[in-house]
């Protein structure tokens, strides 16, 4: 079941974020904000409000850290959780809007093979 038939999702890897704020400035729908919390490096990392991402990818290109931001264009966040063979734990998954059987783990971002 799709939680929100959104145009996109953005995942911030908090430990790779240096809190420069360029993604927040660049984000057209303004769905990113600087977290009140610190990450282990002592930065206020960027965070996603949880809804409203259009999947445009502007934040990805604005961000200077190679692995801090991942953007999913037209992938839906599912309500139910699945067993991820990579994490060996149960996690929420994204499903491809054009092919709902194609799933990706929200934690490790690797594909989950349903078969």
């Amino acid at each position: 079941m799709s939680e929100a038939a959104s145009r996109g999702h953005v995942v911030i890897n908090t430990e790779e974020c240096k809190g420069c704020g360029l993604c927040i400035e660049a984000c057209p729908p303004k769905v990113l904000y600087l977290s009140k919390k610190f990450n282990t490096h002592g930065y206020h990392n960027s965070a996603y409000k949880g809804e409203g991402c259009t999947g445009c990818g502007v934040c990805f290109y604005a961000c200077p850290e190679p692995g801090a931001i991942t953007v999913f264009k037209r992938w839906d966040l599912m309500t139910d959780i699945r067993m991820c063979p990579h994490c060996r734990e149960k996690h929420k998954v994204y499903s491809k809007s054009t092919n709902p059987d194609e799933l990706i783990c929200t934690q490790c971002l690797k594909p989950i093979n349903e078969g």
Partner: protein, 475 residues
């Protein structure tokens, strides 16, 4: 339109080479332009499928550790020398994709001539020139690209034209040359400009991949730490202020008409060179060298004297003759700028094993042709070694007691033969006789191959025989 924008596979998953506990983030400051450009380059390399044949050259500057991040071939080079090293890499491996990634201190100051000449030769490189108007890594000193009036660590009153001159416009300079295919100045400011930079990066790499052409992308990029600004202020300063001095845009683009540079590696056949340089193949007479092939030879010879004594040619003759006996040889000269006079020395190695380095630090044999040479090199001779010195010119005997000493009045003997300059050949004759590692017959026969002036062959042969005779008498 399903797409995932994620960390490119051209980056390492974990930056194992990075020292310390944090192996997931780059060494760049928050908001630094390097990371953005790295991502654009990595994405293009992945999309074009050339990761496996890419060689990324890290410069000196903040991006000195680019090899921590890029999962490609990597070379880290001396300050400003990326285009020179890139030339070598590309010519040796024409199918590789060579990226010269340089900052403004690196490219526009210390490496200014390297880049101009590599561009002028049209080497098949892609140059990314990151211009942040200061020396970022060393703490924000003035660079050639610093704006007029800009306050830096070394221009606390602002850059003045009278004192420091004008900012250098590298893209415009490169664009005046004939060979470059594509030259553009872009910036990492707002979203639009980043996406435009992405296009320029891809176009520049395509030109190298498809046509082996030279392209140059100048990227105006923020240094929030060096400029003492927030990352957002930094990007704004790039957009509003830097672009006034450094106008964006395509400075040169002949990619449509450029036919491409040959991808094949250019090799010169040894035979062609022999013809041009009039070099004969070294003859090795198997029968005549038979008595010497089992010998274990490892001589490190230092020959020293003043210029004009034939010190260097003494070394050439010894190494040439060594070659004719199938030994491994090396010859390394060291001399002052004077053609005559001054001091000269050369290092010769003759060995039955492969030679690793031509440098002779502790000779097994010292040939001293004048007093200063004996004074300078005597102490370095290995214990049990040999010192040969010209006793007609040197008024003291060596003081070492743990070496064999042979005084030869070579200059006096040469004088008696009618030519002072032949003293070196007297020593050759004596040494070959004494060491017994070469055939005198071969040396006499082939001395003509080595000498430029053929009319001097009989005199040289006479001197070699005289030297040999001298040794026989004192043995």
């Amino acid at each position: 339109m399903n797409k995932i924008l994620r960390k490119s596979n051209v980056f390492y998953d974990v930056y194992e080479r990075r020292p310390g506990a944090d192996k997931l983030t780059t060494t760049y400051c928050p908001g630094c332009g390097h990371g953005i450009l790295h991502k654009l380059i990595a994405e293009a390399l992945e999309d074009f499928g050339v990761q496996d044949r890419t060689i990324f050259i890290s410069p000196v500057g903040c991006s000195v550790f680019a090899y921590y991040y890029f999962h490609t071939g990597n070379v880290q080079v001396a300050h400003g020398r990326a285009p020179a090293v890139g030339t070598g890499l590309k010519r040796a491996n024409p199918n590789s994709i060579v990226i010269s990634y340089q900052g403004d201190g690196d490219l526009a100051a210390i490496g200014g001539l390297e880049i101009i000449n590599a561009a002028n030769r049209g080497e098949g490189l892609t140059v990314f020139f990151v211009n942040n108007a200061i020396y970022g890594m060393t703490g924000g000193q003035m660079a050639p690209t610093t704006l007029i009036g800009q306050i830096t660590m070394t221009t606390p009153l602002g850059r003045s034209v009278e004192n420091e001159g004008y900012p250098i416009h590298m893209s415009e300079i490169i664009a005046t040359l004939e060979a470059p295919v594509y030259v553009e100045r872009v910036m990492l400011g707002d979203t639009k400009s980043i996406m435009h930079t992405r296009k320029a990066v891809r176009k520049a790499l395509k030109i190298q991949i498809e046509k082996n052409g030279f392209s140059f992308i100048e990227v105006l990029s923020a240094c929030p730490s060096g400029w003492k600004m927030t990352p957002i202020q930094g990007e704004k300063w790039v957009t509003d202020t830097m672009t006034k001095y450094f106008p964006l845009g395509v400075k040169k683009d002949i990619s449509d008409t450029f036919e491409g540079r040959d991808f094949s590696r250019k090799n010169v056949e040894p035979s062609e060179l022999h013809e041009v340089l009039d070099i004969k193949e070294t003859r090795i007479d198997a029968e005549k060298i038979a008595p010497f092939i089992m010998k274990l030879v490892a001589e490190e010879i230092k020959i020293a004297g003043f210029g004009g004594q034939g010190v260097l040619s003494l070394g050439t003759v010894l190494s040439e003759m060594g070659m004719r006996h199938n030994y491994e040889v090396s010859w390394l000269p060291s001399y002052g700028p004077e053609m005559r006079g001054g001091t000269a020395n050369c290092s010769v190695k003759i060995s039955s094993k492969k030679i690793g380095s031509p440098v002779v630090a502790n000779p097994t044999i010292l040939i001293a042709m004048n007093r200063p040479s004996l004074d300078k090199f005597e102490t370095g001779v290995v214990s049990g070694g040999l010192i040969v010195y010209d006793s007609s010119l040197i008024d003291r005997a060596p003081t070492r007691t743990d070496v064999t000493v042979i005084p030869i009045p070579a200059t006096k003997m040469a004088d008696e033969l009618g030519n002072t300059k032949i003293a070196n050949m007297i020593i050759v004759g004596a040494l070959i006789k004494y060491l017994g590692i070469m055939s005198q017959e071969i040396v006499l026969d082939s001395i003509g191959d080595v000498l430029k002036r053929k009319e001097l062959v009989p005199l040289n042969q006479k001197a070699i025989l005289k030297g040999a005779e001298f040794i026989k008498n004192i043995k």
